[in-house]
C-alpha cells in the first residue's frame, strides 16, 4: 500500500505493481472519519493518482482514472487536469478501458475543456465501429458533452446510425439527436426525416419510446412546427400500450391542441378512454392534466377529470393527494366549481402534516379569492396562521399580502377592514413579513384617502403597545405606524397619546433608522398640536387649502364610495381631529368646543416638557439621523416652551398668539407638512425618452464600476420628484395619447444631462450650470430635496395620481419607451430563443421535403395516402395554409428560395428570431452573408447525402 509514497517524478514499476485499486480507495475513505483525516487521505490518494495516470501501462492509467472519477463524482475533486488522459483511454483497444475513459469524459468534461477537439476523431471511429457497445459508449458520451463543433462534425455519422438495423443503436442515436439539434440546428435538415421514419415504424417499441421522447422535448419549445405530424401521434395515442410513450404523446398533444382547436375534438375521446381504462396512476394523472389544461372546453372530459382528481384527493397516498391538489389548481381558472366541490378537502389540507401539501392547498385557496370572499377567506386564513408553525404561518401571511395587493389592491373594497387586517397580522407572534406590511401600510395610506383615519387608529394601537417594541420582526411595521401617525395626525383623536407613545422609553429598543422615523413623527405631531393651540382658526383653513389642491383622489376600484367621501374632505369648517363627524355643520360646532378642551395650555406645556425630558439624553446620539431630528424637535419645543410659558398671562388673547415667533414658524412648518404624499410610479423616470443626440454611456460606461457603490439608494415606498419630471410625465402621457409618439424636447435633454451631472458630478468639470441645473431634471429620489420641494408636491401627486388611475383603468402596458426596448432583453434569452427557432425553422423546411419524399417513396402506405388526399382540402388558419404558396412552383430550387423568404416573413413577428442572421453555431455575431453561405452548404450536403428528392411538397391534413 505504500508504493505510491516513494519516488518523485514519473511512474515507476512499483507504482504499477502496488497500485491501489478503486476498491482500496473506497475502503480507505470509509476507514477515515469524514473531516480532516479523510481529506488528508484523499489528497494523498490524489498525489498517487497524478503519478499513476501518467503511466504508459493502460491498466494502471485506467485504474487511476477510475479512482479520480470516483473522487470527482462523489467528493467534488476537480479532475479537469486529467482530461487528456481520459481522451487517451477512450482510444484503448480494451472495451473496459474505453468505458472508463468515456465515463470520465461524460462526467467531467465541460464545453470549455481544451482537449475536447481531440476526442472528435475517436468519437467518429467508435460511432462507426462494428461493435455495437462501442457505438453505444460514444453515443452516450456525445449526448452529454456535445458541443456545436462535435455536432457539426459528427452529424453524418449519426445520420448513418439512425438507419442502423440494430434497435439498440437506433434507439441511442435517436436519443442523442436532441442534444445534437440543440447544439447545431442545421443537423435537423439532415436527420429529421429519419427521425420521423422512426415515428412511423410501429414495429419497435424501444425506438418509438426514444423518438417520442425527442419529439416531446422539441415540441415543448416550439410546438407549431410539429403540427403536421399529428396523425402519427394520434396513431400512437390510440395504438400504443406503453404508458411511458403515452404520457409523452399526451404532453405533445397538450401543446398541439392549443394551436389547432380542431385537433382537440379528435383526441379528447381517446384521452378519456385512457383515463377510464388505465390502471397506471401516472397515465391517469397525465390524462387529467392534459384535459384540464388544454381541453377544458369539453365539459364531459373535465367532469371525468375532476372525478379522477377527487379520487386522488381522497386517496391515502400523499403523493396522489399532492398531485390532486395540483390538478385542482390547474382546473381552477376555468372551472371554479371543481374547487368548490372539493372545498372541504382543500381546507382540511391546510392543516396537513406535510408542508408541501399545505402549500398547494394554500395556493388553491388563494386562487379562489375574489372581491366578494376576500374578507371571509382572510378570516379563515388568519385562524390557520395562528395555529400553524412559524414557517407556514408566514407563508400564509405572505400569500395573503400578495393576493390582496395584487394589481394595486384590486380585490379590496373595504380598505378600513384591510388596514385593520394589516394591524392584526402585525400582532401575530411569528409574523416575519414586517417589510411587506410596512410597505402596504404606507402605500394604502398614500393611495387611498378614505382609509387614513382607520390607518391612524391601527397605527396608534400598534404604537401604544410597549410589548411590541421587544419584537424585532415588527420594528418595520412600527416604523410605518409611526410615519402614518405623524403624517395623518389630524385624524387622531388624541395627539398627546401618540406623542407619548412615540417618546416612550422602550423606543430605545428600536434600531436607529426607525427611531429617527419616530422622532420625525413626533416633530409632526408637535407642530400639529402647537398649530391647533396657537392658531385654531388657521388650522381649518390650511387643511381646506390642502383639500383644494388635492384632486379627488381615490382608487377607481372604490369609486362606489365617492359620495361618502365629501364628508371626509375637509371643507372650510372641517374639524381636523374628529373624522367621525361627517356633517360639516356639526363639525364646526364641535370643533371649537373640542379644541378648547383638547389643546389647553396646560396640556401643551406638559407635552413640551415631556419632549424635552425624554429627548435630552438623545441630543448627543452618535447616529446622525437621530441627532439631527432630535435637534430639530428640540429647537422647536424649546422655542415654544419659552414663549408659551412667558406669555401665560395673555393666554386668552388669541390675537396676540398670531404674533409669536413660534406661531410664525409653526405656520411655515405646518404649511410644509400639510402637503400630501402620493405614490409615484416606479417607472416614471424610465418613461422619459432619451433624446436623439444624447449618448449617455459611451464615454462613461467604464465609470459604472466606480460609481456602483456611490449610487443613490432607491426609495421603496415613495419618492419625491420635482415638478420638472412631473411636467415631462404629463407631456409624455398626452403625447402618447395623441399619437403614441415620444417627443423629445431640448428641455428634456438638458434635464437628463443635468441629472447625469448630478449623479456623476465628480466626473464633470465644475461649472456654474450646476447651480442652474435645478431648473431641470432632478433625481427622483434625492433625499435632500425633501423639504424644499413641498410646494411642488401637491401638483406632483395630482398628476402622478391621474396618471396612475388612467393606467389602472385601461391596464395597457405603457407602450412607449425606446429605453425599455433598448437594452432590456438579456442576451442569453435571445440566444436560446434563436436556437429553438433555428430548430423549428429547419423542422418546417424538412417536414415539407420530408412529406414529399415519404409520399413518393412509400406511396403504398395508408398514412401517406391520407396525406395525398388531403392535398385537395387544405384548410386555412393553420401552418399548412401558410405553406400553400409554395405549391405552384415546380422547380425545386426556386421553391426553396421562395420558401426561405416566406419563412423569414413568417417569423418576423416574434422577437429575436432572426434566423438568417445566426450562423450555424447559433452565434449572433456572424455576418449574414456568411451564415447564408454556411446554410446553403449544409443544405447541399444534406440533399446530396440523403438524396431527398424535393419535388412536390404535400401538406397533410392532420385532422385525418
Amino acid at each position: 500500500m505504500s508504493g505510491g509514497s516513494g519516488g518523485g517524478g514519473g511512474p515507476s514499476l512499483m507504482d504499477s505493481l502496488f497500485q491501489r485499486t478503486l476498491d482500496d480507495l473506497i475502503k480507505g475513505i470509509r476507514i477515515h472519519v469524514p473531516g480532516a483525516a479523510q481529506s488528508t487521505f484523499i489528497s494523498k490518494s490524489l498525489d498517487e493518482i497524478r503519478r499513476e495516470i501518467k503511466s504508459t501501462d493502460l491498466q494502471t492509467k485506467s485504474t487511476a482514472l477510475q479512482k479520480l472519477t470516483y473522487l470527482h463524482s462523489l467528493h467534488g475533486i476537480d479532475m479537469s487536469w486529467a482530461a487528456f488522459h481520459a481522451v487517451e483511454l477512450t482510444s484503448s483497444p480494451s472495451f473496459i478501458h474505453k468505458k472508463t475513459g468515456y465515463l470520465a469524459a461524460s462526467l467531467s468534461f465541460r464545453p470549455s475543456t481544451d482537449v475536447l477537439l481531440l476526442l472528435t476523431n475517436q468519437l467518429r471511429k467508435d460511432l462507426s465501429s462494428t461493435n455495437q457497445h462501442e457505438v453505444s459508449l460514444a453515443l452516450e458520451c456525445l449526448s452529454v458533452i456535445c458541443t456545436p463543433d462535435f455536432a457539426r462534425d459528427l452529424t453524418p455519422d449519426i445520420f448513418t446510425l439512425l438507419a442502423s438495423s440494430k434497435n439498440f443503436i437506433r434507439k441511442k442515436s435517436i436519443a442523442c439527436l436532441l442534444m445534437v439539434f440543440s447544439q447545431y440546428p442545421d443537423a435537423v435538415r439532415v436527420c429529421f426525416k429519419r427521425l420521423v421514419e422512426n415515428l412511423e415504424g410501429t414495429d419497435n417499441a424501444q425506438t418509438l419510446a426514444a423518438t417520442v421522447g425527442v419529439f416531446c422535448e422539441l415540441a415543448s419549445k416550439e410546438p407549431r412546427s410539429y403540427l403536421p405530424l399529428a396523425p402519427e401521434f394520434y396513431r400512437i395515442l390510440v395504438d400504443s400500450r406503453n404508458n411511458w410513450v403515452l404520457i409523452k404523446v399526451l404532453k405533445i398533444f397538450a401543446k398541439l391542441a392549443k394551436l389547432e382547436p380542431r385537433l382537440a375534438k379528435k383526441v379528447v375521446e381517446p384521452i378519456c378512454d385512457h383515463m377510464k381504462r388505465s390502471e397506471a396512476k401516472s397515465l391517469v394523472f397525465e390524462c387529467v392534466r392534459t384535459i384540464v389544461s388544454s381541453f377544458y372546453e369539453y365539459e364531459f372530459a373535465v367532469k371525468l377529470a375532476v372525478a379522477k382528481i377527487r379520487e386522488f384527493l381522497l386517496d391515502s397516498d400523499l403523493n396522489l393527494k399532492y398531485l390532486g391538489l395540483q390538478g385542482l389548481l390547474l382546473v381552477a381558472p376555468n372551472h371554479s366549481w371543481a374547487v368548490l366541490e372539493n372545498k372541504e378537502v382543500v381546507i382540511k389540507s391546510l392543516s396537513d402534516v406535510d408542508r408541501n401539501i399545505k402549500l398547494e392547498a394554500l395556493r388553491l385557496v388563494m386562487s379562489m379569492v375574489s372581491d366578494d370572499n376576500v374578507v371571509e377567506i382572510c378570516r379563515v386564513l388568519i385562524g390557520y396562521a395562528l395555529k400553524s408553525d412559524p414557517e407556514f404561518c408566514n407563508e400564509i401571511l405572505r400569500s395573503m399580502l400578495l393576493t390582496c395587493s395584487r394589481n394595486v389592491y384590486e380585490i379590496i373594497i373595504d380598505f378600513d377592514w384591510y388596514a385593520s387586517l394589516l394591524g392584526e397580522m402585525a400582532r401575530i407572534p411569528h409574523c416575519q413579513n414586517g417589510e411587506e406590511i410596512e410597505y402596504q401600510l404606507i402605500d394604502i395610506g398614500m393611495r387611498v384617502k378614505d382609509v387614513r383615519p382607520e390607518l391612524v387608529r391601527v397605527g396608534r394601537d400598534l404604537l401604544i403597545d410597549p410589548a411590541l417594541l421587544g419584537n424585532p420582526f415588527i420594528h418595520r411595521i412600527l416604523s410605518a405606524a409611526a410615519w402614518v401617525s405623524g403624517e395623518y395626525v389630524w385624524f387622531s383623536r388624541n395627539p398627546f397619546e401618540i406623542m407619548e407613545a412615540l417618546l416612550q422609553p422602550r423606543t430605545n429598543l428600536l434600531p436607529p433608522s426607525i427611531r429617527a422615523v419616530y422622532i420625525h413623527s413626533a416633530f409632526k405631531v408637535l407642530s400639529f398640536c402647537l398649530h391647533s393651540f396657537l392658531l385654531p382658526n388657521k388650522t381649518a383653513n390650511s387643511l381646506s387649502k390642502f383639500a383644494d389642491m388635492e384632486p379627488d383622489f381615490i382608487y377607481s376600484e372604490s369609486e362606489g364610495e365617492f359620495p361618502e367621501t365629501s364628508g371626509l374632505r375637509p371643507h372650510q369648517e372641517f374639524n381636523p381631529r374628529d373624522l367621525s363627524e361627517k356633517n360639516a355643520d356639526n363639525a364646526t360646532i364641535s370643533s371649537s368646543s373640542l379644541k378648547n378642551d383638547t389643546f389647553t395650555r396646560e396640556s401643551v406645556v406638559n407635552m413640551l416638557t415631556l419632549i424635552l425630558t425624554s429627548l435630552s439624553p438623545l441630543a448627543g446620539s452618535h447616529d446622525v439621523e437621530i441627532e439631527e431630528r432630535v435637534r430639530n424637535l428640540f429647537g422647536l419645543a424649546q422655542l415654544a416652551q419659552e414663549e408659551i410659558c412667558c406669555h401665560d398671562d395673555r393666554k386668552e388673547m388669541m390675537v396676540d398668539r398670531d404674533d409669536l415667533k413660534t406661531s410664525i414658524i409653526i405656520r411655515l412648518i405646518n404649511d410644509a407638512l400639510s402637503e400630501d404624499f402620493g405614490p409615484v410610479s416606479l417607472s416614471a423616470q424610465e418613461r422619459v425618452p432619451v433624446p436623439d443626440g444624447l449618448v449617455l454611456e459611451e464615454n462613461l460606461s467604464k465609470l459604472d464600476i466606480i460609481c456602483a457603490d456611490v449610487q443613490l439608494p432607491k426609495s421603496k415606498s415613495f419618492s419625491l420628484v420635482r415638478p420638472s419630471l412631473l411636467q415631462m410625465d404629463g407631456d409624455f402621457v398626452s403625447s402618447r395619447q395623441n399619437e403614441e409618439e415620444s417627443e423629445t424636447s431640448a428641455a428634456e435633454s438638458t434635464s437628463l444631462l443635468s441629472e447625469h451631472r448630478k449623479r456623476h458630478g465628480l466626473f464633470y468639470l465644475p461649472s456654474d450650470n450646476n447651480q442652474n441645473a435645478s431648473t431641470g431634471f432632478q433625481p427622483a429620489n434625492d433625499p435632500n430635496q425633501k423639504d424644499n420641494d413641498v410646494e411642488d408636491l401637491v401638483k406632483l401627486t395630482e398628476e402622478s395620481l391621474v396618471l396612475k388611475r388612467k393606467s389602472n383603468l385601461a391596464r395597457p402596458r405603457p407602450v412607449v419607451v425606446k429605453l425599455d426596448e433598448g437594452g432590456r432583453l438579456p442576451i442569453t434569452v435571445k440566444k436560446t430563443q434563436s436556437t429553438d427557432d433555428l430548430i423549428s425553422g429547419a423542422v418546417r423546411d424538412v417536414l415539407l421535403g420530408n412529406e414529399a419524399s415519404s409520399q413518393s417513396n412509400q406511396s403504398g402506405k395508408p398514412s401517406s395516402r391520407r396525406r395525398g388526399k388531403a392535398l385537395s382540402k387544405v384548410d386555412q388558419g393553420s401552418e399548412s395554409n401558410n405553406n400553400m404558396e409554395n405549391f405552384e412552383i415546380g422547380n425545386s430550387s426556386k421553391r426553396r428560395s421562395k420558401h426561405r423568404i416566406h419563412g423569414k416573413d413568417k417569423k418576423h413577428p416574434s422577437p429575436g428570431n432572426d434566423v438568417e442572421g445566426r450562423d450555424e453555431n447559433g452565434e449572433v455575431n456572424k455576418q449574414k452573408s456568411g451564415s447564408r453561405h454556411g446554410r446553403h452548404k449544409a443544405r447541399q450536403r444534406a440533399d446530396g447525402g440523403i438524396n431527398v428528392v424535393v419535388q412536390k411538397p404535400v401538406i397533410p391534413d392532420f385532422l385525418l
Binding site: 424501444q206 389544461s293 402534516v353
Partner: protein, 155 residues
Amino acid sequence: MGIRFVLMVNKQGQTRLAQYYEYLTLEERRALEGEIVRKCLARNEQQCSFVEHRTYKIVYRRYASLFFLVGVDNEEVSRAHTFTIMCPNELAILEFIHLLVETMDRHFGNVCELDIMFHLEKAHFMLEEMVMNGCIVETSKANILAPIQLMDKAS
C-alpha cells in the same frame, strides 16, 4: 422527460451517485446537493415525495438507507393563467426510480448502498442505458442489463 439530475444519497447525506444531465460547476453541484439533501432528508414518511427547489422539482424515494433523488424541470414555477404543463410527470418519475432500484436489485441481488459504492461504474452504466439527455429511453430491465451482463461475461 426533462430529468436534470439523478442523485443517490445515504441517510447521512453522503452522495453515493451523482449524474447530471446539464453542466454545472463543481461548486454549483456541491451547493445544490447540500441544499437538496438537507431539504429532503428532513422529511418523514408521512410526507409526500415531491419537493420544489429553485427551478427544480425533486422527486425522491427512500429505499432502506438510500435516498434516490431525481431533479426534473419545474416549469410550473410560473403559476399564472398561462402555465405550461411540460413539467414531467411526477408519478412516472417515481416509477422510474422504482425501475432503477429493481434493475439494480436484479443485477446485484438484494442491492445495498455498498453495491453502488463499489460498483459505481456499473450503476452509471445502467443509468446511461435508461436515460439519455434527460429522457427515459429504456424501461425494460432485460434490455438495460444486457450490455452489463455481456461485459461481466467477457471480463
